[in-house]
């Protein structure tokens, strides 16, 4: 596919809160190529979450275009956006958002359920995804029997399972201790090396060192956009994770 995977062109987003208009994005343009590992940073209220929601097809821009894999998604309706989220995007959340009292494998199967895949195919692919994040031996564990880091890895497996083009992670290390954070970043780096595009939002400077490109958003604009050589995430250099 020619052209960038993600192309945001002069996007604005205006929220209406009663009589007050809040301009969360005031003309943002950016391009992300396939295989890039990008962090979006910025203070709270900067518009980085709004930008993330638009990238994730959870929200639509007020004006401007958003081309995902060459296709303008701005005019699509809710159902069409659901389909794009299902087929092309994977989500990782700060608080994992796993279904409780539900086994790891069933959690990972969830996107495939909405893709309309058969039961055996779902099982097989979900097991593969869990294998890939190193939880091949925890398929039937429910979230309350997994540590925070393991829960987030289940969530990453869920994001991976539908073989998306892009994984969008919103503060994925926000609820994890520093060692586990590094473990999760190591996993992201590994996925990045296999060609998956990853965009994450973070406010932690440490985490941002592990990515190849940092975009800073401030007051609804892109304040800076620079590439860097990522630090290698190596959890073995850190003290062991607390049990539990």
């Amino acid at each position: 596919m020619a052209g960038p995977l993600i192309a945001v062109q002069d996007v604005t987003k205006v929220f209406r809160m009663g009589d007050v208009e809040v301009r969360a994005l005031r003309g943002v343009s950016l391009e992300i190529a396939t295989g890039e590992f990008v962090a979006i940073r910025g203070p709270s209220g900067s518009g980085k979450s709004t930008l993330m929601n638009i990238l994730g097809c959870l929200d639509r821009p007020t004006t401007g275009r958003y081309l995902l894999d060459g296709r303008d998604v701005a005019p699509l309706d809710r159902d069409a956006l659901a389909r794009i989220r299902n087929r092309m995007l994977g989500f990782v959340f700060q608080s994992f958002n796993l279904l409780n009292r539900t086994s790891a494998i069933e959690n990972v199967e969830l996107p495939l359920l909405y893709a309309g895949l058969g039961r055996t195919e779902r099982r097989r692919r979900a097991a593969e995804a869990l294998e890939r994040v190193g939880l091949g031996d925890r398929l039937d564990h429910t979230p309350n029997r997994l540590s925070g880091g393991q829960q987030q890895r289940v969530a990453i497996a869920r994001a991976l399972v539908s073989q998306p083009k892009v994984i969008l992670a919103d503060e994925p290390t926000g609820n994890l201790d520093s060692r586990t954070s590094v473990e999760v970043m190591a996993l992201f780096q590994e996925l990045g090396r296999s060609g998956i595009t990853i965009v994450l939002v973070t406010h932690e400077p440490d985490v941002a060192t592990f990515v190849g490109r940092v975009i800073v958003v401030r007051d609804g604009h892109i304040a800076s956009d620079r590439r860097q050589v990522p630090a290698r995430a190596d959890p073995s250099t850190l003290p062991a994770e607390d049990a539990g």
Binding site: D79, A82, R85, R87, F93, N100, Y114
Partner: protein
């Protein structure tokens, strides 16, 4: 996502909260259970009454002679013979809706076998009486019209009398019994009919030809028929009107004067009974509707709580690709599964309760499958009706808000 998959997701979600799901269905269980049990008991009572009336004979009219008035004191019906044998003949020839019209004369008398005696009702009648009462023979053959013509000394025993005189399970056909010291040959034993709706034993009676009765048991009164006339009608109401007109005409009763006879229409009594049981059924239906409504509100309440509680789950599902209608179907599915499960469990509870009542108190019960199917269909409808609002609410959540919900 197909329907089956949706259902599976719904069931799995409900099983995640087993106790709550069960408590939610309790309203439906009690509602449906109460309906099934009460309908079974009501139907059991009704069919018992119906059976009793059917045993009396269908479309049965009884014509009773009139009352005497002596110095202002009015006797009861039958205190004065007003019906004549000519009246009977006239009914037979002039009332087409009367299929059979038979005289029934009776007297209390002691009946003796070789070893036992028993005081019972001796009835003088004609063979058609057994047609009127739909009364088959258990043993032997009933007496015939020629027995009536010649005044033969033969007798048909009621089941109770046969037991009392010859012992249970005996065959007295061919034996001799004595009534008023006159020997009668037993030709048949009538099948058992059990109790009448008023609690009398239908089988405590013996039948002899009415001519024999007139000649040997009770001296005749010439032209008067000292007893009652049983009529089996094709249409009870028509026959009642026609017989009334005929007898008033024959007895020269004109204008406002009272009838000197009475006609009892047993079909009317039966239909009045049925009418009252229909009223009871209607009330049951109202109670059922109210209890299903209450059950439905319970389900809606819990579903609303569930939607709020699972806001993040809904947000996650939407984020990973669930469409609004997938969410709608899931929550609607949960409500319907709850209500239908409640309906099915309610039926089980109702059946168990009714069976227990039968076992413990010997109440007759009759299960109505149509009521049960209706109960399940209604439960499903309640689930859809009361599940729709919470499900719509869930399906319209904004995923961004939902994901952030604490």
């Amino acid at each position: 996502m197909n329907q089956l998959e949706t259902l599976r997701v719904a069931i799995r979600a409900l099983l995640r909260n087993k106790l709550r799901s069960f408590l939610t269905t309790l309203g439906m269980i009690f509602g449906v259970g109460a309906v099934v049990a009460t309908v079974a008991i009501g139907e059991g009572a009704r069919s018992a009454v119906e059976e009793a009336f059917a045993s009396m004979g269908t479309n049965l009219l009884v014509v009773l002679p009139g009352s005497s008035v002596t110095g202002g004191a009015r006797g009861g019906f039958g205190s004065q013979p007003t019906l004549t044998w000519d009246d009977l003949r006239a009914i037979r020839s002039e009332v087409p809706s009367a299929r059979y019209a038979v005289p029934y004369l009776r007297s209390s008398s002691q009946v003796l076998s070789e070893e036992q005696n028993w005081t019972t009702q001796v009835a003088g009648t004609e063979p058609d009486y057994f047609e009127v009462r739909s009364w088959p023979m258990a043993l032997g053959t009933r007496f015939t019209d020629s027995d009536v013509d010649t005044g033969t000394k033969v007798v048909v025993l009621g089941g109770t009398v046969a037991d009392k005189l010859f012992g249970p399970n005996s065959n007295p056909v061919g034996q001799t019994v004595r009534i008023r010291n006159i020997p009668f040959q037993v030709v048949a034993v009538a099948a058992r009919k059990g109790q009448t709706p008023t609690g009398q034993d239908s089988d405590d009676v013996v039948f002899i030809p009415r001519t024999t009765f007139q000649g040997k048991i009770q001296g005749g009164l010439g032209k008067f028929l000292q007893g009652t006339i049983f009529i089996s009608a094709t249409n009870a109401a028509t026959a009642e009107r026609e017989v009334t007109d005929l007898l008033r005409d024959r007895h020269r009763i004109g204008g406002p004067s009272e009838d000197d006879f009475q006609i009892r229409n047993l079909a009317e009594v039966a239909s009045a009974q049925e009418e009252s049981s229909r009223t009871v059924t209607l009330f049951l239906a109202i109670v059922a509707a109210v209890s299903l409504l209450v059950g439905g509100i319970g389900i809606m309440n819990i579903m609303l709580v569930s939607v709020t509680e699972r806001t993040r789950e809904i947000g996650t599902r939407i984020a990973v690709g669930a469409r609004g209608r997938d969410i709608l179907r899931q929550f609607l599915g949960e409500a319907v599964v709850l209500s239908v499960a409640g309906g099915l469990l309610g039926i089980t509870a109702g059946v168990v309760t009714a069976r227990w009542l039968t076992a413990a108190f010997h109440w007759p019960v009759a299960f109505r499958w149509d009521v049960m199917i209706l109960a399940v269909v209604f439960s499903g409808a309640v689930g859809v009706l009361f599940g729709l609002y919470p499900a719509r609410k869930a399906s319209r959540l904004d995923p961004i808000e939902a994901l952030r919900y604490e």
